[in-house]
């Protein structure tokens, strides 16, 4: 059992870990909390997390949100899906991870207060990629993505976005994009791996699909939001998520 003082210490450490992880846009993993903070007291996990969340809400206006599971599990032909199928009998051990979500009311937010530093162009690029994924039925192969990059004149060393592949890698690392390696159907081509891109867990928490539609609308201009949503639903063969 933790003493009151120890408990208090652990709560503060989780708060700190959450803020640090958020600053780097890396998920806070259950494992890290257990290893770095709780150490010999894994049983206190739920209680500590709850107390940390209360404090984050109250002091910072942020809440600990669990990152949604990746979509890749249902992808036919993906290595992950194959592995999952092979291990059918075993329960899938998936690592719980978290991020911080802003809970300050939208009308109270003031985005220009936050210094985005060099993030702003990157976030623009991300929105473009996420929108492309969305209108493609929420999945895009790397060939398709590259094709779009060419059409948008997003060359490898772009003057605003820098190295595009690297930017994409960063998005994957930060959980904004989910990249799945496809099992190669043709063995003669096995030297080149193929990938598919999905909307990553962090993006699902941070960016609503409705705001992506809004983003697309701003770029297209002159289309009503409702029509656009319907068109996208039809074209992509999926229904838009509405949270």
């Amino acid at each position: 059992m933790l003493t009151e003082e120890e408990f208090e210490r652990k709560v503060k450490d989780v708060v700190r870990l959450a803020l640090c992880s958020e600053l780097r846009r890396t998920p806070m993993r259950r494992e890290d909390i257990l290893k770095k903070v709780l150490v010999n007291h894994p049983r206190a996990y739920n209680q500590v997390m709850e107390a940390a969340d209360t404090r984050l809400r109250e002091v910072f206006g942020m809440t600990i949100a669990e990152l949604p599971t990746k979509e890749r599990k249902n992808v036919i032909g993906s290595t992950a899906a194959r592995r999952a199928a092979a291990n059918k009998d075993k329960p899938t051990t998936y690592v719980k991870s978290y991020m911080l979500k802003n809970i300050i009311a939208q009308e109270h937010r003031q985005p220009e207060m936050i210094n985005w530093k060099n993030d702003e162009p990157a976030m623009g690029l991300l929105m473009v990629i996420l929108s492309l994924i969305l209108v493609h039925g929420r999945v895009l192969t790397d060939d398709q993505l590259k094709h779009y990059f060419r059409r948008l004149y997003l060359t490898e060393d772009h003057e605003v976005f820098g190295n595009i592949s690297e930017a994409v890698n960063t998005f994957v690392k930060q959980g904004y994009l989910d990249r799945v390696k496809l099992a190669s159907s043709d063995s003669s081509q096995s030297d080149k791996d193929h990938y598919e891109y999905y909307c990553g867990p962090r993006a699902k928490v941070e960016i609503k699909e409705s705001s992506m539609i809004g983003f697309i609308q701003t770029i297209l201009g002159g289309v009503s939001l409702e029509n656009l949503s319907k068109q996208i639903e039809r074209a992509s063969g999926t229904e838009l998520r509405d949270e």
Binding site: R16, E22, R55, F60, N102, I104, Q110, M113
Partner: protein, 245 residues
């Protein structure tokens, strides 16, 4: 009046987390914007109360806003710092143990530098990496140093020397005073740690000033340019920091 703790405070905090340290002018501007966004009446007079209210809440998570001065230009700055006693543990969540070991070596080199230089050349800093167990390669050490600069723990000067940032001094003052008691100097005027500034030309005289504190002190009406401790002439040319000789 900003009496109750609310979204105005939270907005201000959220904006502060990424910045960590900012000038008072920037802080007041952030305060104004936070008030505007949350439709709270804004009054510059309330700024201190506002910061006090924030600190009141932040203490619950062992953090606080501290006010200090930038050693280089004397600007008033605010920093969001961690306050818990276990100074090293708090870095543990941000860096790996090996990275912390490296940081501590750099810290030691900076603080114990000869002639009160309070800085370390990048060559000496990089040399430390491979000495650690497990090793940090020079390339990795270079990246890590950049990370410390980006995270505002270290400052890299135009001549490539690393020194302590205002954030490092503010946040690690406990550790610095404890572990390097014999090396840490305090400003004769403001009693804060000084790692960049001026010293008395007398070898064993203890008088030290930040540049901005020296300016304040010697501009006061009847302070002639004499050392406040030993009364020898104050040249302002005996320096602490990178330019120390």
């Amino acid at each position: 009046m900003t009496s109750a703790y609310g979204d105005t405070h939270r907005l201000f905090l959220q904006a502060s987390i990424a910045e960590r340290i900012f000038s008072e002018t920037a802080a007041e501007e952030m305060y104004r914007k936070a008030c505007e966004a949350t439709s709270v009446e804004h009054d510059t007079e309330d700024f201190d109360d506002f910061m006090a209210a924030l600190n009141d809440r932040l203490h619950r998570v062992d953090m606080e806003f501290r006010k200090s001065h930038d050693e280089e230009n004397g600007d008033t700055v605010w920093a969001l710092v961690n306050t818990n006693g276990d100074e090293v543990a708090k870095l543990a969540t941000e860096y790996s143990p090996n990275e912390i070991a490296f940081f501590k070596r750099i810290l030691e080199l900076i603080v114990t530098a000869d002639a009160e230089a309070f800085s370390v050349s990048s060559i000496s800093a990089l040399r430390e990496g491979p000495l650690l167990k497990p090793q940090i390669t020079k390339t990795a050490a270079e990246e890590l140093l950049q990370k410390f600069v980006d995270d505002k723990w270290l400052i890299r000067s135009s001549s490539g020397r690393y020194s302590l940032s205002t954030r490092a001094i503010l946040e690690l003052q406990g550790l610095l005073k404890e572990e390097f008691e014999d090396y840490i100097l305090e400003c004769t005027l403001c009693y804060e740690i000084v790692t960049k500034g001026q010293r008395c030309k007398t070898a064993n005289c203890k008088a030290r000033f930040h540049n901005h504190c020296a300016e304040v002190y010697y501009n006061r009406s009847n302070n002639n340019k004499a050392c406040p401790v030993c009364s020898t002439e104050w040249t302002g040319k005996h320096l602490i920091g990178e330019k120390a000789k």
